[in-house]
């Protein structure tokens, strides 16, 4: 990556140490938090979202599996990454996140197993392909009990695991603490940052679920339900509004206080003109579209292009927010007398191509997971 001094004096060792990959890491984590929260809402509060439970769970897995990729690629010595579990420093936010990540992964796998257990048993017994049959037989873990009592136990286990997963996902989302605890960086060291980060994440995850709902219903030829879209769009609207409001309040507070860092933050912001414009204009546009989508759904109509545009815009806006937070803050030198620029390289481990591959990884994994655990299997067979 290249960092060049744009203005003023910067410490001689200063450069943008965390590049585009570390933008993607909190971005993926944000999406996971949002998706898990949507699942928890469906499980505990909004019964009309029950239809998308399986879709959300199978979609969360590729994102959770991919979340470590950018971190591993960014490490100087990735082969030593496991040291986080062997010699952890519990005063380090990064080490704690390693543990939270494993909790999240295992809770999700457990939840998925209970949710799909009946399907797994059925396919373990009826699957025509012998290899697949063996695969599902292994997945049953020897439990073939699918009577009502067993299913009740499954539901109870799912509720407990959802609770654990929700806590872990929110803890993961507080990945912003990773940045927030760096007291030497004025851009990161604010109280609002972790909260706005969580709301941005919830909006991105919700938007991703909406987008995937459109794609999966199209692929499996399942009827879309306006009440699902309406509930999701409503949640995403308020999450996005909160994220946008908090980010704006943070900036206004900084500008008003005018402490020593503000002068350089103001100048360095010129380097972020595009992502800042995306953040502001995109947020407003997405909010308008979401309200329109809700209005239409309440009238029983589904405006697919608007839903898609709103969802994609939110995903882009939240990415821009993460970019501004991760890259923007590093442009400023800790001497607070100058700033550098950042241009990610195209190739290499920390390049744009690698970053794009990491971003696409969950979407590439998703069809594979969906093949083994189809969220709308029965409906597809009925249609076929």
């Amino acid at each position: 990556m290249s960092s060049e001094i744009v203005e003023g004096f910067v410490y001689p060792n200063h450069e943008v140490f965390w590049g585009v990959l570390i933008v993607i890491y909190p971005y993926l984590v944000s999406i996971i938090t949002g998706m898990v929260t949507v699942y928890a809402i469906a499980e505990f509060w909004r019964k009309e979202l029950k239809d998308i439970e399986k879709l959300v769970v199978i979609s969360s897995l590729p994102f959770v599996l991919s979340a470590l990729l950018p971190l591993l690629l960014d490490l100087g010595q990735p082969q030593r990454a496991f040291e986080i579990y062997i010699t952890p420093n519990f005063s380090s936010v990064m080490a704690v996140f390693g543990i939270v990540y494993l909790t999240e992964l295992f809770a999700l796998l457990g939840e998925m197993w209970f949710l799909f257990r009946v399907d797994i048993v059925r396919r373990a017994m009826n699957e025509e392909n012998s290899v697949l049959r063996l695969f599902y037989k292994i997945l049953t873990l020897g439990v073939y009990d699918t009577d009502e009592e067993a299913i009740k136990v499954d539901r109870k286990a799912i509720k407990i695991l959802t609770g654990i997963e929700l806590i872990a996902a929110w803890c993961l989302s507080y990945v912003s603490f990773l940045f927030g605890v760096v007291k030497s960086n004025p851009w990161w060291n604010t109280t609002i940052l972790p909260v706005s980060f969580v709301f941005g994440g919830l909006a991105a995850g919700g938007a991703m679920v909406m987008l995937l709902y459109l794609l999966f219903t199209e692929f499996y030829r399942v009827d879309r339900k306006p009440e699902i879209i309406s509930t999701l769009a409503n949640y995403v609207f308020y999450f996005m509004l909160a994220a946008f409001a908090l980010e704006t309040i943070n900036t206004i507070l900084y500008a008003y206080k005018e402490d020593v860092a503000w002068a350089v933050i103001k100048l360095a912001s010129t380097q972020l003109a595009l992502p800042l414009a995306i953040q502001v204009i995109g947020s407003l546009e997405a909010l308008l579209f979401l309200k329109y989508v809700c209005y239409k759904c309440n009238m029983g109509k589904i405006n697919t292009p608007f839903i898609a545009i709103a969802s994609i815009t939110i995903l882009i806006v939240v990415f821009a927010m993460r970019w501004n937070m991760v890259i923007g803050a590093q442009l400023i030198d800790y001497g607070l007398r100058g700033f550098v620029s950042y241009t990610p390289p195209l190739w290499g481990r920390e390049g744009l191509i690698a970053a794009l591959a990491v971003l696409m990884a969950p979407l590439i994994m998703l069809p594979v997971v969906a093949y083994f655990f189809p969220p709308y299997e029965k409906r597809v067979r009925a249609v076929l």
Binding site: Y11, A81, G98
Partner: protein, 234 residues
């Protein structure tokens, strides 16, 4: 084994471990920089590079020049450190009439008593020694660069050849043999002073009123002290 006996052994064992736990020595090292003596020759930077094989473009120590000037209004501050001050400084393009004060400030790792870099390292690859020196175990560092982000003094750098983080060690290999750090040894004016906190020459300096540390508001408790620097240095 009876329960009472087991508890007795457990308590005795814990007490022994507590006694054996090394206590922090009060005989820690500190570093004092007298800015008024520094001539910005860059010998310290060169010596450090040679002694510690510091890669080109990276610095374990560097020298900054501060020029405070006024055009009739409040003070303006100009700061520079071309190539870390390794090859000295060119004449500054500011009217000498308008310069209020100008001086050099050598910088290096502060070997803080409450080092934020140590706190954030996820694998305990960086730690603070009995002598108060903050070190990095390069064979254990995973290269996450979190410690670089946490250091408010810009003292750490990423070694792109070894793919790990590196920093000033106060020439630990020398000081543990009773020698002084390379930068202190080569300084022609004695601007850099090194010793144990209890040493008389250190105590004399620390008794003076104009002794300062950098960024005290961050509560990192640096062990590098500065003499004769203005408010503009942080």
């Amino acid at each position: 084994m009876k329960r009472r006996e087991f508890i007795r052994i457990l308590v005795a064992g814990s007490a022994t471990l507590l006694v054996l736990k090394p206590v922090k020595s009060s005989d820690i090292f500190v570093y004092v920089i007298d800015s008024s003596r520094c001539i910005g020759c860059g010998k310290c930077v060169k010596a450090c590079r040679a002694e510690n094989h510091v890669p080109e473009g990276k610095y374990r120590t560097w020298v900054e020049r501060y020029v405070v000037y006024s055009n009739g209004e409040l003070e303006n501050v100009y700061v520079e450190s071309p190539m870390g001050g390794e090859f000295g400084f060119e004449e500054v393009d500011i009217d000498t009439e308008r310069i209020l004060r100008a001086y050099f400030v050598p910088k290096l790792c502060m070997h803080c008593d409450k080092p934020p870099c140590v706190k954030v390292c996820p694998v305990n690859a960086t730690w603070i020694t009995e002598e108060g020196v903050v070190l990095v175990d390069k064979s254990h560092c995973i290269g996450c660069k979190y410690c670089i982000q946490a250091c408010p003094y810009g003292a750490r750098y990423f070694n792109h050849h070894e793919k790990v983080v590196d920093k000033c060690t106060w020439c630990y290999h020398r000081i543990m043999r009773g020698m002084r750090p390379a930068c202190v040894t080569v300084c022609p004016t004695g601007a850099r002073v090194f010793g144990k906190l209890t040493d008389e020459h250190i105590q004399d300096v620390l008794k003076e009123r104009d002794i300062r540390i950098l960024k005290p508001e961050l509560n990192t408790r640096p062990k590098v002290f500065y003499k004769n620097i203005g408010w503009e240095v942080w």
